[in-house]
């Protein structure tokens, strides 16, 4: 495939939840290796947009194309997309009945059909990468929030995804644990991972993002570089929003 061609294409996507127009004609594209940060007020549709990329939500109209595959409700199709797209949730969503190691090996064995030895070797390498190799046998409830989120990142990476999605990965964390998760994300960005990140962490956006998109009421208001957005926002609504989140 043409490397210049975007790996994610979003074409005029609409999504309603009852009366709420969560996405109101959103179009954008993400190139390979790009790190895109989505910001915007609560209810602006940024999480919904993210969830449309791996088919956790389906657009009412419009198309989402990931790596040449249109994301729709057909099962084979959706599982093929999901195996290529890792997602990290605000609430970690680790499997509480499995150890950290088992959390990372489960999908490798079930989906990628890797053997126990191979999947455990990969899992241990990833735990080392996210900085907690000693926590392999711990259960999620025995880990801190920051450690749980790093296991969740390792779990997604074990599937060798082409794209990583982050849905407010640090919003449920105590302040002193945010850095350890952001550092892990920064590491991925430096390795050239394609990332779409819903997060208001300005430090991460400035250090890692190629683009930052400000959304409000289901639409893209401003699409620019982090430096540009934080120092010289073009739109009045962006200025108002930044005034509220930056102290």
């Amino acid at each position: 495939m043409n490397p210049v061609e975007p790996i994610i294409q979003i074409e005029n996507v609409h999504k309603r939840f009852g009366k709420v127009h969560a996405l109101n004609g959103v179009s954008t594209a993400v190139r390979r290796g790009e790190v895109l940060v989505l910001i915007g007020p609560s209810g602006s549709g940024k999480s919904t947009l993210l969830r449309c990329i791996n088919g956790l939500e389906h657009p009412d109209s419009g198309r989402v194309i990931v790596d040449g595959i249109t994301v729709d409700r057909r099962a084979n199709n959706i599982n093929a997309v999901r195996a290529e797209v890792g997602i990290v949730f605000q609430q970690f969503n680790l499997f509480p009945h499995l150890t950290a190691l088992q959390n990372i090996t489960l999908a490798q064995r079930v989906i990628r059909k890797r053997g126990t030895a191979e999947s455990e070797k990969i899992a241990r390498a990833l735990l080392a990468k996210v900085g907690i190799p000693e926590k392999a046998e711990a259960y999620p409830a025995q880990l801190s929030g920051g450690q749980q989120q790093r296991v969740a990142i390792a779990r997604a990476l074990a599937m060798n995804p082409k794209i990583m999605l982050f849905d407010e990965p640090t919003s449920a964390l105590d302040p002193e644990m945010i850095t350890e998760v952001l550092e892990t994300m920064l590491l991925l960005a430096k390795e050239g991972m394609t990332m779409v990140v819903v997060s208001h962490e300005m430090g991460f956006a400035k250090a890692a993002a190629n683009r930052i998109v400000f959304m409000a009421e289901g639409a893209i208001v401003e699409d620019t570089t982090p430096t540009q957005l934080y120092t010289n926002p073009r739109e009045e609504r962006t200025k108002q929003f930044l005034g509220k989140i930056l102290h």
Partner: protein, 278 residues
């Protein structure tokens, strides 16, 4: 979830109370928390054992009624095993987004739960089993002409409806994020159920599942109505033949109690073994 000090979280809270009481001379917080009921049962059991052991008549009754215990346990065990399967299938149908499956599952649960178990057993024995047996080629029809098999099937269909609701409650207790996380890793709905949702749901529902097994053991007595030679039927026949109802029914009650108490202990052990570390 967000405890800032991970070292504080390494010991499971469930064991804290056990930890705290270990090593003390009196391992209970106070005298009114002491499980006197166990003490009373132990003493009563001891007295009963001595009376029975020293009394030739009681010893003989126990020996005779013991042949009923085999069928009581046999019927309860197999009926429960089938009920676990029926309940799982119906429970999965009840949480299904497919309207046909949901409707069929709900019909089964609502219809069965609205009919007394004894009526279900008699209905199965007099109506359904003969109907099926007449239409099944020999020699397989014999399966539906055995009252033991009929009792097992009727009990398991009846209990399946109750267990379906237990499974459903367990599945619905798992946060939605678990299914989303599993699906996001590329698992199908079935794979997510098998590897992520059910292993957690079953741990949650172990106590009600255990209770229902104990109930099943007691409800196996209902199959005496279709002449399954289990403990209750034996007791009724022997007490009628010997004109000794007090002795026979007392022994029968004690035998049931011994079995259910023993099972409760086993169930508690299993629950403890499969707790998810917290």
């Amino acid at each position: 979830m967000l405890d800032s000090d991970p070292s504080k979280r390494t010991s499971p809270p469930a064991s804290v109370s056990r930890e705290a009481t270990r090593g003390r001379a009196f391992p209970f917080a106070s005298f009114d928390r002491f499980p006197y009921w166990i003490l009373i049962l132990l003493i009563a059991g001891l007295i009963a054992a001595i009376v029975i052991a020293t009394n030739a008549e009681y010893s003989q009754i126990i020996e005779i009624l013991s042949s009923g215990i085999y069928y009581t346990l046999y019927v309860a065990f197999f009926a429960y095993a089938f009920a676990l399967v029926f309940g799982l299938i119906a429970g999965l149908m009840r949480v299904s987004h497919n309207p046909v499956l949901y409707t069929l599952g709900t019909l089964y649960v609502e219809v069965i739960r609205g009919i007394p178990l004894l009526v279900q057993i008699l209905y199965f024995f007099y109506v359904i089993a003969p109907f099926v047996a007449d239409r099944v080629p020999e020699p397989y029809d014999q399966f539906f002409r055995s009252e033991v098999n009929e009792g097992i099937l009727a009990l398991s269909i009846g209990y399946g409806a109750y267990l379906a609701e237990v499974y459903r409650a367990g599945i619905e207790a798992i946060p939605r994020g678990q299914m989303e996380a599993a699906r996001s890793l590329g698992m199908s709905y079935v794979q997510a159920m098998q590897h992520v949702i059910l292993p957690q749901a079953i741990r949650i529902i172990l106590p009600p599942l255990g209770n229902d097994f104990v109930s099943m053991l007691k409800d196996s007595a209902l199959t005496s109505s279709i002449s399954v030679k289990e403990l209750t039927l034996w007791t009724r026949q022997r007490s009628a033949n010997t004109f000794r109802p007090l002795e026979h029914w007392t022994i029968a009650a004690l035998l049931y109690l011994t079995m259910t108490l023993g099972l409760s202990l086993i169930v508690r052990y299993i629950e403890r073994k499969y707790t998810i570390p917290k």
